[in-house]
Amino acid sequence: MPGDKILLSHGEGGKRTRDLIRKVIVKRFDNPVLAPLFDSGLLGRLDGEIAFTTDGYVVSPAVFPGGDIGRLAVCGTLNDLSVCGARPIAISCSLILEEGFPVETLTTILDSMKAAAAEGNVMVACGDTKVVEKGNADGIFITTAGVGIVSDGWRPAPENVRPGDRVILTGTMGDHQAAVLIARNLLELSARILSDVAPLSSMLLGALSSFGEKVRFMRDPTRGGVGVSLNEMAEASGVRIVLDEGRLPVAESVRGMCEILGFDPLYLANEGKALLIVDGRAAEAIAEALRKTRYGKNAAVIGEVAEGPPGVIMKTVVGGMRAVDYPVGDQLPRIC
């Protein structure tokens, strides 16, 4: 009913809890594994190396242009599986709700999760719901864990990265964090920026299927953006990555917002993008293949692996060289 709120009794295990679970939550995720509502979802025999991941989602506001915390919770976990070459099998959905959270917002979020799971071809196999007293959670927190099977013959191989390899980014940087910042409305900026939150399984597993070992290693550049992820990749492989600033894809509105606030899009979070380090000779072909997919239209080769001490540097637009290091803390709007 409109205006209905989540109450503490929804989490206490009694009739309200059962109603919430069956009529609101399970009804949406309906599948044979979940249906019996055993204490565990039984997935059957799985053939192949199992990948297992988990993430907590606390984004505020819960609903933002381009998506919501539900879509984020499903896609984030799916993408963590995909960048490790795993076909997703099942995810869990653990909800912590604050007393007073609107039921209507909850159903919107659950519908998003259902749609994202369907798109990502994965089932919600198990879950949990808790309700905490007002003030003890920011509306809604979601934790998802995901299980997948790694494609035969491919596994992430940072140790195979070598000079001559190239770096591909599957699309524009910073859309997600820019959209959330605008939605928070603290900076009173308006812009038509949509979060890029999306399930990348089909795009990435497709690339692995076509190019196999030519793809050495992948990551999804979430918190800390491309800047942090590339540093992690350079560290994992012990190599020097040289970026070409002129080739970094950034949407105009995101650039505009960054120029106003003094932000660097390299460090803004993405939720529908992947970084791939690939065999240099196959880079253009791989980028071209990615550009033919729904979420890879702006895929670009953004840099290469070079000789030299490990780390990330960048050839700037005007031809200079500068380091791209780990940032310290979140970016803040500055006057200087």
């Binding site: 105009e252 050839k315 637009v317 200079g320 060289m321 500068r322 380091a323 970016q331 709007p333 006057i335």
Partner: protein, 365 residues
């Protein structure tokens, strides 16, 4: 996807051309010592990798134009003290959040319970005051002439709106006299000044005539885009070559000779000239702006009866010498060891445009 009046000034082909022209014009003369006064220039230069393009031709010295770096640590302590008063909201530009005072930083105190908010504009603080009449809003008004009119504008808006719960803890400094002090310091040896773009938009390029004339040092007002900086340096090199010492304006699309009269009027209405301490440098007469008597109700120092304690320097920190251009960051014994962006000892490291932070973040190993 071009951002107008930004991307044209980052054109790679033009940049190559200007760099080529610079090297052709200068030959193998010894590198010219140019001080870029403004912290935004420091960051632009670092982000564009300009040092690497001009090595051997120009030695770029970063000056004290980082308002956060030159604000005495007693200011942060005073701000924290105000924030600890019940019912107080501290509002600040993002630049100040992580700067260490003597005991703590605003970021750390916020985790302990102080209500400290990062805002984009001082007007947002006035709005918060209007919407929260039972709270006291204190805005940390730190900056140079670029920001002074905006802070003055906020005070005027509060006066207009009869908002009684808004004050500014003011820490505003002015540039030209500080440049004269640096120009006269024999240890610093400045051969040219790259003058700040937006300070100049407010005060006008004529403000630097005394520096050029009294000290015989070429001055060029340059914008912040890479091409502005490269061309500005080119103009300085040409002046040096022909033995000239004048003020030229590369940023003519925004800065004029006389500045922005309305902005100057607004500053004159709300502020008065005063002597003020620059962290690491000392007291420079006439280089500060304090809130005028008739706006005393918006002056946090007067309203709350506090005085910003003068800095007791933590002696191992050599921010002062870095700010004066006497040493480069790697020459400070703490750089990269006891003083890093995660655990900064002095403000030059934590400020978004502090010289040491720029070196650390953007310097290529």
């Amino acid at each position: 996807m071009q951002l107008k009046y930004i991307d044209e000034f980052r054109d790679p082909r033009l940049a190559r051309g200007v760099v080529g022209k610079i090297r052709a014009a200068w030959g193998d003369r010894p590198a010219m010592r140019v001080m870029e006064v403004c912290g935004t220039h420091t960051v632009s230069i670092a982000r564009a990798g300009i040092r690497s393009l001009l090595s051997g031709v120009v030695t770029l010295i970063s000056g004290p134009g980082c308002p956060v770096c030159v604000t005495p640590d007693g200011y942060i302590d005073a701000a924290i003290g105000l924030g600890e008063r019940p019912g107080t909201i501290l509002a600040t530009f993002g630049d100040m959040l992580r700067v260490p005072g003597k005991r703590s930083s605003l970021e750390k105190e916020r985790a302990k319970g102080i209500d400290a908010r990062v805002l984009y504009s001082p007007l947002d603080a006035v709005e918060i005051a209007a919407k929260n009449p039972e709270k006291e809003i204190v805005f940390l008004g730190v900056g140079f002439e670029t920001t002074a009119p905006s802070i003055a504008g906020a005070i005027l808006a509060a006066a207009d709106g009869r908002i009684a719960n808004f004050t500014v803890l003011s820490s505003i400094r002015t540039i030209p006299l500080a440049m004269e002090v640096l120009a006269s310091d024999p240890e610093v040896r400045i051969e040219g000044f790259l003058c700040p773009a937006h300070v100049s938009a407010i005060i006008g390029s004529d403000a630097y005539l005394p520096v050029a004339e009294k000290f015989g040092i070429p001055c060029v007002v340059a914008g912040f885009e890479p091409l502005d900086i490269l061309y500005g340096i080119y103009l300085l090199l040409l002046q040096k070559k022909r033995g000239a010492a004048t003020v030229e304006n590369e940023y003519a699309r925004v800065a004029t000779q006389g500045g922005n009269p309305k902005a100057l009027e607004v500053i004159g209405k709300v502020f008065r000239e005063t002597d003020t301490a620059w962290r690491g440098i000392g007291v420079l007469p006439g280089t500060g702006l304090r809130i005028a008597e008739n706006y005393a109700a918006f002056d946090a120092e007067r309203k709350f009866g506090i005085e910003i304690p003068s800095a007791e320097e933590r002696t191992a920190c050599r921010c002062g010498d870095v700010l004066k251009g006497k040493i480069s960051p790697p020459q400070c014994p703490l750089f990269g060891k006891a003083c890093t962006p995660e655990e900064p000892y002095g403000p030059c490291m934590v400020s978004s445009e502090g010289t040491c932070a720029a070196y650390f973040k953007y310097g290529v190993q």
